[in-house]
Every structure is written in structure tokens, then in C-alpha cells.
Assembly symmetry: C2
Homo-oligomer: 189 residues x 2
């Protein structure tokens, strides 16, 4: 990464920590500078408005949630099956739960989107592109399930993640079991 890109990524990471820790209302250029240990004005140089800052955070969330190429190469080498679909899903859920700051920041931005049209626009574009990408990936890989199923999995996984990162109705329910039950029931036979 070029030095400028590294700095931009470090500032965005600081912004995601601020969001996760303080919520959307705490997200200011000044708070990002402080969190990054950067001189005041640095975040404003990279992200010239709050809208640009949010756009930068959304882009960084996408980078940080990108699958591990080694994990995906192993998955891609297998023949398509319900079990393979379950393993892809397991990888998604693990990434979301492992990177707690990123996932909480994403949830904070979703709630902020309910209040600010500019955030809804930025996040909405990214989320809808992601959904279309998931549907296309699933089809291209010959995996079971189409647009309807992928939407149902999106809802269920978002709810599961919210349950595990915030307040759980029952933390003793195993995540692997939930994934197996969802795949067993939601995918067409």
C-alpha cells in the first residue's frame, strides 16, 4: 500500500473504533484524529466532509470483511453442495463475529442511516451491491439457493450477529447448530 493509502486506512480503522465504542453521534473528524493519535486536521484532509468520512468508513468495512484468499481458495476447490454452502456461511459468520469493531460499526451506521439520508445512500449502495454479488457468486459457484434464499439468509445472519454481539436471547445455543439448522431448512431440496 502507498503511504497515503496506509494513512487513510489507519484513519478509517480509528473511525470504526470510535463508532463501535461511542456510536454514530461520537463520530467526528476530531474524535478520529484523537483515536488515531494524529494531529488535528488529519482526518479532514483525507475525508473532507462527514459524508466523505462515512463513505471512507463504509469502504473500509468492505475491505476488512473481505474473505481470506486462502480460506476461499480451499472452499472454491470443492464441488458445490449443501455442505459447501454451509461452510461458506460459516466463514461469513465467523468473519463478522471475529471483527467485532467492524461489525458493531456497521450496525451503528445502519441505525445512523435511519436518521440521515446521506448515510442511507452510501451504506445502501454498498449493501445492495453486496447482496447482488452474493446472489451472483452463489449462482456462478453452482451452489443451491437463489435470490429468495440469499435474502432469507441475510436476515437470519444479521439477527444472529445482533444476538451474539449485543444481547442474546440464549447464548448457549451453538452458532454452528444455528447455521446447520438454517441451511437444512432454508435451502431448497
Amino acid at each position: 500500500m502507498a503511504r497515503n493509502e496506509e494513512r487513510r486506512a489507519a484513519l478509517a480503522d480509528a473511525g470504526l473504533r470510535v463508532l463501535a465504542r461511542e456510536g454514530a453521534r461520537g463520530l467526528t473528524h476530531r474524535a478520529v484524529d484523537a483515536e488515531a493519535g494524529a494531529p488535528r486536521g488529519t482526518a479532514s484532509n483525507y475525508f473532507t466532509s462527514r459524508e466523505a468520512l462515512v463513505d471512507g468508513l463504509v469502504a473500509r468495512i468492505g475491505e476488512r470483511l473481505t474473505p481470506d484468499p486462502a480460506v476461499h481458495a480451499r472452499l472454491a476447490s470443492r464441488a458445490p453442495s449443501r455442505e459447501l454452502f454451509a461452510d461458506y456461511l460459516r466463514d461469513i459468520v465467523q468473519r463478522l463475529l471475529a471483527d467485532r469493531d467492524v461489525t458493531l460499526a456497521l450496525l451503528e451506521l445502519r441505525l445512523e442511516a435511519a436518521r440521515r439520508p446521506s448515510v442511507a445512500e452510501s451504506l445502501g449502495g454498498w449493501m445492495r451491491a453486496g447482496f447482488a454479488g452474493d446472489v451472483a457468486f452463489n449462482e456462478g459457484a453452482g451452489l443451491p439457493g437463489g435470490r429468495t434464499e440469499i435474502a432469507l439468509f441475510h436476515y437470519a445472519v444479521d439477527g444472529l450477529i445482533l444476538d451474539r454481539l449485543t444481547v442474546s436471547i440464549d447464548p448457549a445455543i451453538s452458532i454452528d447448530d444455528v447455521i446447520d439448522e438454517l441451511v437444512d431448512r432454508l435451502l431448497p431440496r
Copy 2:
């Protein structure tokens, strides 16, 4: 309602509007007083700490999401079936989507619970009691599905609500269709 209870409910409603509009960080006794149009110090009289205020908001969320007795009497008069389960579920989703402030406030409190153990305790007790109540209600009413299914529906409905109140992967997908698909696939045959 006694006058004191009315005042307490009006203050809690003001608190829920503050949460929905400004997020958890904006929730202070002072903001609640201002939103309720009450003299400064009023919210502190009714809720003597931030913990007590959060407890009061959680209790008020429970009251505002209570089913309409007339709607539930009609549902309770029918013989148990998958269709009846679907109609109960439809009623839950409608209540959550209709009372936007309450549902957004609840989501804000869930995220706040990820940061503050006292909020996690208050909200967690209420949510786990609600989950246990849902499982017991379903069994008592002779409806299909047990603890596992009710958990899967909780996750899916939370994700659907998040999708519709914040940023949607596809707002054209009909909520009724999602409920029908979930009931069709998640309930045991």
C-alpha cells in the same frame, strides 16, 4: 392510569424518541426533560440514575409492543395451524414496524448493551424473559415449533426489521412473502 404513572409513561416515551433520533449517546435526563417539555429535573425525579432511566425505557418498550387484545382474541379463537403461526408472526412484525421509534430505540439499546454491562443486564433480562414467554405461549397454544424454531424466527425477524427500518438489501421484497417463506421453511412438517 394514576397521574404519576401517566407522567412516568410520557417521560419514557420522550426518552424513546430521544434514543431513536439521537442514539444512546444522546440519552440524558436533560434531553428527556426537553423532549417531554417538562421542567428540568423531572426525569431525574422519576428515574434517579441512568440505569434507572434505561430500566424505565425497557419497561416502556415492553408496554408499547404489547399485542392489541382485540387482535389477539381473534387469533386465540382459531384452531392451531401453520397458518395461525404465520398470522401471529405477521402481527409481531407489524407491531415492530408500525412503532418505528420504539423499535429503533430498542436497537439503539441493544448496541448500547454491547458497551455497558448495566444496559446488557437490564435488556438481557427482559429479552430472555420474552423469549421464554414466546416458547411457552407457542407450546400452550398448541402451535407447531419449539425452542429451536422460535430462536430461528427471532434471528430472522430481527434481521428483517433491521433491513426495513435502516438500510434494505431489497425493499421490493414483500414482507408478507418473507413471513410466508420463513414459516414454510423453518417450521417442522
